[in-house]
Amino acid sequence: MSKIAGDELRLPDGASVAVRMYCQGFGDCFLIRGREGFVLIDCGLVLRAKDERDRMLEVVNSVRAATGGHLSLLIVTHEHYDHLCGFNHGADLWKEFRIDRLWLPWTEDPDDALADKLNKYKQQATASLQAAFAGMKPGLAADRTESILGLLPAYSVKTGTALQTVRDMARSQGAAISFKRPGQVDPVMDGVDAIVLGPPHDEAKIFDLEGDAGDTFQQMAGAVNQIIRASGASVAAAGADYEQQLRQALGLEAAPNPAPPFAVYFQFNGLDPRWEKLEFQYQASLASGPDAYDQHWSMSDPLDRELHRTRGPGERRTAFEKRRKRAEELASFHTTRTDRRYYATENEWRQIGGEQNAPIERLALQLDSFTNNVSLALAFRLKDGRVLLFPGDAQIGNWKSWDDQPYSVEGSILTLHDLLTRTVLYKVGHHASHNGTYVGAFNQLPDGVICLVPFEPVTVWKSIPDPNLLAALQKKGKVCVANNPQPGGGTFTLGPESPLTHRPKFVDVYL
């Protein structure tokens, strides 16, 4: 049987758990059924997806139908729209749920000093990005920055309320909220233990987004790492740059306030680079005589100083004439009027200006990756030792920290290697981006591992999915991609077709 009609998540005889991936698009929503209850991991869809709200309502309704409105555990991996918005869209539906426990990463813990520090980074960088965004010209850079900002709680009321909704809901239902730290091992239900792998409680690792050479699936794609490496700088330095940018953005560190590029030249020639604004002001007042001009005099201009010092009306007039003459000279210096050529209607198509958006966009991208990197990464261990790997949207630094601590499960000490080699299901990290799966860990996964990819093409993220990663996944395991789920040799059971996406609503796997 490879197709099911309703929303029920079956648990066939002989299976320990059933895992369901909802196929709403670029966003995570995973439901796990064990013998004793249900676990839900994230519930979201990327900002501005088509029929976003309706798709999410469909998902939440389906979750309710499958679970009877009772979740023994709800997990929110990180604060991104594509993992959260379902709680907002479906707020009314969620009120009728009963949730026993809510898990969040330690970065949401109000009593954690590092979490507090990181959140401050995030808020203030978001605020400065938001300010910068207001001045951006339309274009892809602006679109992308906006969509990243839209993911962030401090900017978007939507996500803010979504996470608040989750917390309020949990609190009102008396659910226990806990903030998970790496190394913790907790029973989820009988026969299923959850092992917390990340995020690391280490600032440097959280800022490590791309790792070292060979850590990601991106091979010389002309992007940031390759060029940074070619120029001999380490990736760590790029992380430091980012941190510095953030620090400057929050005012923790004095931002260099550079003199404009030609300051010396202009000073030397008694000109102001912003002549266009200033000189017109001067000229208007110069036309109306020394008294009107007096309001505009500038201490930095020697002729102005001279004019200001004058006392008698004759002396004053002479000084004023001198100043006016120079204003005329300046005007003729500029009369060639490049600006007319630039602003001419027939030349509008070649005006520039959007380019200064690029650094803003880059900062936004980094901030986005940083938020991904604080994802709660979990391994669910079944009684027989099999492992389900749910890394959220963890980036390389998070992945690489998993080996920092041993995991004590049922009295025995397990290493990361033990967990990876027994993995039977892998929720592919960060929708299959180039740095959402760490090559070193991926290589330890066994052949035949089931890979679930919550993905559909999105215009602002053209580089996702990473083709190298997809190829590697296909070589190693059984892959199911949300935008085109296939039955795949009896492993994947497809749900009924959704009228919104015209593809199966979800895919079920029995383990």
């Binding site: 794609a221 060029i227 070619a230 500029h334 050529r341």
Partner: protein
Amino acid sequence: MSVQQPLPKDPPPAFRRLRVFALDPVLAANVETVAVSTVELKIRWGDLQGPGPVGEYLDVVDFDPTQNCFYAPVDLHQRSLIADAGLAPSESDPRFHQQMVYAVAMYTIQTFESALGRRVLWSERADVHEPVERLRVYPHALVEENAYYDPERKALLFGYFRTDSSAKAASAPGTYVFTALSFDIISHETTHAILDGMHRRLIEDTNPDSLAFHEAFSDIVALLQHFSLPEFLRFQIASTRGALETDNLLAKLATQFGQGIGKYGALRDAIGIMEPDLTGRYAIDLRLPNQTVTGEIRSAGDTEDRIAWRRVTPRERNLNDLTEAHERGSILVSAVFDAFLAIYKKRTADLVRIASDGTGILRPGSIPPDLVARLADDAAMVARQVLQMCIRAIDYLPPVDITFGEYLRAIITADYDVIRDDKLAYRVAFIQAFQKWGIFPHDVPNLGEQSLLWQSLGGLVDERVLTEHLQRWFANFDHTIRSQMAKFRFSMPRRDVRTWSRSTAYLVHEAIEALFLQNSGPIDRPGLLFGVEPTSSGKIEVHSARPLQRMPVDASSRPSTDLVIVMTQSVWIDRETLQEIAPADLAQTDRTRRFRFRGGASIIYDIDQGRFKYVVRKSVRSQSRIAAQIDYQSSSRRSLYFDETPQPFRMLHNPGATA
């Protein structure tokens, strides 16, 4: 009584001399190189039209959006500036920046015009199909370690940035670095614009070589333009004792500044690398304090001051092992540089023998100034000739989907047309160098010169079997071209050349349409002679039709007038066809969309003899090409459906564009 003689009317001067940084401002800050830090470029006197500078080809607008101001434009017609070869090189005067971008871009344009034998035209605006008279140049367009050609705005955008305190900076921390002051970068970006004007569809990324080619070709132009400046070469040759392949200031500095800029580093790294000099023999150390050397080799302690530049050998890197655009491009640059060195060595071997009493081994110490001068002149001449060979080949490239092997064929064919007898073995040097680096066309039986030449239409079809209809078509085509040529003068203003070219392109388009209607007889689909099909399957674009005069250097044939035609067609390959060709790759792709595919031909039509001299085709029906393209595009990071990224160069150049 004396009669006042009327003053004779002097002709205007031929050139306007303008000073520019020979490489970039780094040279001027070093005692060893300050003497060669600037050069004077000769720019055609008549080009300049006004302050800006605005000329016939370029429109420099110094608007700085970051500072929100216009910098006052330089007026090169000022008497003081005419007398003094323009403004003195200065980093702090924006007007010098304008002068430098103008001078170097014009110098590059002049190089192209003298190699091609015709005027440079910019590509027309794709959205409104309007011609573009002048290329816009923004010397201070953005605050970023980047500079690029923007094919939508037909503009060169140069960035500037403040160096940070990290070690990679090529100048003192906290100072500004201007990409508009790098000779390299300006000629590189100008070349992008010129190439876009000649072959609009070459930008598209359809195989591992296509995107790399644009980059590599621009780099070849930038590199060889340096080597054709004799003043600079003298210094270089004196310090390397004539051995240009050893420690080479030009290539070396290109490497260093490239690191500061990021984008140029990757390409230049392939030509040579810096590494600790264990022999103790190093010419000049140009590094600034805090500057480190490329890659893994970080100098420390004793070796810190002994850094030598050395060429990368084909054994270390080979085309077959590389897939990334920058890296593949660097192989092409290396191969051309090798060909240049081989020719230079061969041409100067006798000089070295004369100067060394027949031994060929120079005595230790400095070499005599006369020998330096002769070697430098020879090297500059060879560089110019090699550059001309590389540029001329552009007319012989297929219009889409180019590979490096095809570029080799184009170089050989173009040179064969100018010099029949390869007495000095220039072509052999090219073939040998390309082969060494693993570049060769895969569809030729061997790498002999005759096999590499492109074929004429006569070689492709037997004219005797052509039907009467087709023969009439050929006659009509010839008549059309001849009557058009009657209206053409090589001395026409550029604007008229453009108008003429457009109307001729239109007539060629009509002729191709007429060809589809011919009863073709033994030839099934006559359009495929030019790689295209009836227009119902896809729009045909005749991008240009440009006459050029060819003056064979060795009098092997009479001077000839050729018409160069570039045309492409884009067709949609539907899913059924795709299913047949490449079913495996379909699983990953979107089901609802089709696949766009281009073909076409570059045609060299000999007007005097009325024959198709060369037809370089890429058929729209080539199944192997469709399969290869799908395979490439689904395995690379490119979209399968050409989203025609508006800023292909920006993405390729910008170190920050990750997502």
